[in-house]
């Protein structure tokens, strides 16, 4: 093949990539939104309250998804985020009730950080696959959260906490939206615009290349899992604030939703490529899908089937484009 031909082919595939792959999630989001807007126009879908509910409901998932983008971009996985949420929410709730706001928030975030540190150390320095490590901690933490308060729910009565992490608002915007916006903005900035973000991508893309280029690969692996643990801790605080209570089941069913949001949002399972904004839109898409399918009055089993099919389609389209 002559160079000119190669260049033309490369340029063409480059253009195609830009057009399709990166925007699958956005097209999907808009299409689903329009569909619900038309079909459910008399069923309350388009009300401000409902749309804002979607954003508020997805806040914890979005925040966990940001962590998972870092982890997956580095070529690792964190299956323990769901059970981390239960532990951190309970840790925060119990501590707030005894020692007040600051201690409670630190306990929640600290518990998440510690879990991430343990996961990360096992992966980075003991050199175990993150899939196995976090699968094990997933089960371990589910046990820990159950034993922490003996299966009891813990009410959170601290008004400031509930305002900060739950039902409060600032400048007319609900606090859960603030947390989402802050986490997305900071996550995007770190992911796209810092050397750390570039090193995360390089590690997931080609760990050997990263290593011989002077990147401290083990430290990157440790750090992404710590980020993920800490963000799961923040998600735990948001759940506790929103429900004004903590319970061991919090977050346990979120793992699949978070993974779906991240993948639909354009992050590769095997690392090297991803998007924080994509994960946000993916997460909103999951929330919108739940919301719209419920409002359509479908039976529970039909909701599950339709949701599964749409996620499958979205994942298929976004992965096929990338993994040619």
């Amino acid at each position: 093949m002559s160079n000119a031909n190669t260049n033309a082919a490369v340029a063409a595939s480059f253009a195609k990539r830009i057009n399709l792959q990166q925007y699958v999630v956005y097209f999907g989001f808009v299409a689903i939104f329009l569909f619900f807007a038309i079909v459910l126009k008399d069923s309350g879908f388009l009300t401000v309250r409902n749309l804002s509910n979607i954003v508020l409901q997805t806040a914890p998932v979005t925040i966990m998804a940001i962590g998972l983008v870092f982890v997956m971009s580095a070529g690792e996985i964190d299956l323990s985020i769901g059970s981390t949420v239960g532990v951190t929410a309970l840790a925060a709730a119990v501590t707030i009730n005894q020692y007040g706001l600051v201690a409670g928030v630190l306990a929640g975030l600290g518990a998440g950080l510690l879990i991430g540190l343990i996961n990360g150390a096992m992966v980075a320095y003991v050199k175990l696959p993150s899939f196995l490590v976090t699968l094990a901690t997933l089960g371990l933490l589910a046990g820990v959260s159950r034993s922490m308060t003996d299966l009891r729910s813990v009410p959170v009565i601290h008004e400031t906490f509930v305002g900060l992490f739950g039902s409060g608002s600032f400048l007319g915007i609900p606090s859960l939206m603030w947390w989402t916006a802050i986490a997305v903005a900071a996550g995007h900035m770190i992911y796209r615009e810092t050397r750390f973000g570039a090193h995360v991508l390089a590690t997931g893309d080609n760990a050997r290349a990263a290593s011989v280029s002077g990147i401290n690969v083990p430290r990157i692996r440790l750090t992404v899992l710590m980020i993920s643990g800490t963000l799961a801790g923040l998600a735990g605080l948001l759940y506790a604030g929103r429900l004004q209570a903590a319970k061991y089941t919090l977050g346990e069913t979120d793992l699949m939703t978070v993974i779906a949001a991240v993948i639909v949002g354009g992050t590769l399972l095997n690392g090297g490529k991803g998007s924080i904004i994509g994960a946000l839109v993916g997460s909103l898409m999951m929330g919108m899908l739940n919301n719209g399918l419920i409002l359509m009055g479908l039976s529970v089993s039909d909701q599950m089937i339709v949701r599964g099919l749409i996620i499958l389609t979205a994942v298929a389209v976004s992965l096929r484009e990338k993994n040619r």
């Binding site: 429900l243 209570a245 919301n291």
Partner: protein
């Protein structure tokens, strides 16, 4: 039916804690007397008033199972009489946060009445707050959000009668073994409210009402998969047992298998909840003598009726109890319909012919 047991386990601060065994009846969270579900009905005039109002209902369940399907069916049929459409059905998958999201989403469809199983009193208190604020009529199944007041916050709680289930199991056992003899007692060895209450009611009834029946062997079980070995051991020590009570149908599989392996056709089994293998053994004249079930369809019907009464501005009973149902060889087909609102499995119907 394990889902239901788990559901109850999830339901942290259960309301039946006040169930009073000395008086042998179930009472409500604030000590309310139980109203039988059969008395919660709408008159023709009520139905006529409701029709054409265009009211909407939402069913917010904790899981998806045989049980919730039957409750939904009962609610749907009863609502249909009053011309009320079910616009939303959800499954929170035992997730408290998800239940809150489900409630918020359902409210966008502006339902006039919500039937729901609050996952746990603490987390559901905040979750259902917006529904109360919106003026939606709430009818709860089995559980009550903490601090909610009857009349202002919710219309009714409807629940099945756990005490009756255990008692009827004891009555069925007594009948099967002729009112006297030795029985084994296999109870659920875990703090799960539903099974614990039923097990306790069985034991209490045998001890109080049947002085000629002795519980000679007691065995706790937490893992249904171990039922067979536990039952085998029990039979080894007490080969002359007249009957065995098993806490629910799944471990009864193992007990049944132990009896078959021992070539024992005479020891009778009584267990709770409807399940195909036990029903099949029962209609074939095997060891199983009776299955005691709740009336899930009736629970749903009563919930819908209470909700509609509330919409009409009528007084609603705070605490409604649906009866338990003893299913034997003679009423197996009807029993399945009454409990789960569907036909018994074909194999059972064929064998019953």
């Amino acid at each position: 039916m394990l889902e239901r047991i788990i559901a109850a386990a999830f339901a942290g601060g259960l309301i039946f804690a006040a169930a009073n065994f000395a008086n042998a009846q179930t009472v409500g969270p604030q000590g309310e007397a139980a109203t039988p579900s059969s008395s919660v009905t709408l008159s023709d005039a009520d139905i006529a008033t409701l029709k054409g109002k265009g009211y909407k209902a939402a069913l917010l369940w904790h899981t998806s199972s045989d049980f919730t399907n039957a409750v939904s069916a009962g609610a749907k049929d009863e609502f249909a009489r009053g011309g009320i459409n079910i616009v939303v059905t959800t499954d929170a998958q035992f997730d408290a946060a998800r239940q809150r999201s489900d409630i918020e989403t359902a409210l966008a469809a502006k339902p006039n009445v919500i039937l729901a199983l609050p996952l746990d009193p603490v987390t559901s208190a905040e979750a259902f707050r917006q529904a109360v604020k919106d003026g939606t009529k709430l009818v709860f199944l089995s559980n009550l959000p903490k601090g909610y007041k009857h009349g202002t916050d919710y219309a009714s709680i409807v629940t099945d009668d756990l005490f009756q289930m255990g008692k009827q199991a004891a009555d069925a056992m007594a009948k099967a073994i002729g009112g006297k003899g030795k029985v084994g007692y296999i109870f659920h060895d875990a703090t799960y409210y539903v099974t614990n209450q039923r097990d306790k009611a069985f034991k209490t009834t045998i001890e109080k009402d049947y002085p000629d029946i002795k519980i000679v062997a007691e065995q706790g079980i937490s893992d249904p998969a171990r039922a067979e070995e536990l039952a085998s051991a029990m039979l080894l020590q007490h080969p002359d047992l007249d009957g065995i009570y098993v806490t629910w149908a799944e471990p009864a599989d193992g007990v049944l298998s132990a009896l078959r392996n021992a070539g024992n056709p005479k020891t009778k089994i009584v267990t709770l909840d409807l399940a195909e293998p036990e029903a099949l053994d029962m209609v074939k004249g095997g060891n199983v003598a009776a299955l005691v079930a709740d009336k899930a369809y009736e629970l749903g019907r009563a919930m819908a009726a209470a909700g509609m009464k509330s919409l009409l501005g009528q007084e609603t009973p705070p605490f409604v109890v649906a009866p338990a149902l003893t299913v034997t060889k003679d009423n197996v087909a009807q029993g399945w319909k009454d409990s789960l609102n569907r036909n018994a499995p074909q194999s059972v119907l064929d064998a019953a012919k």
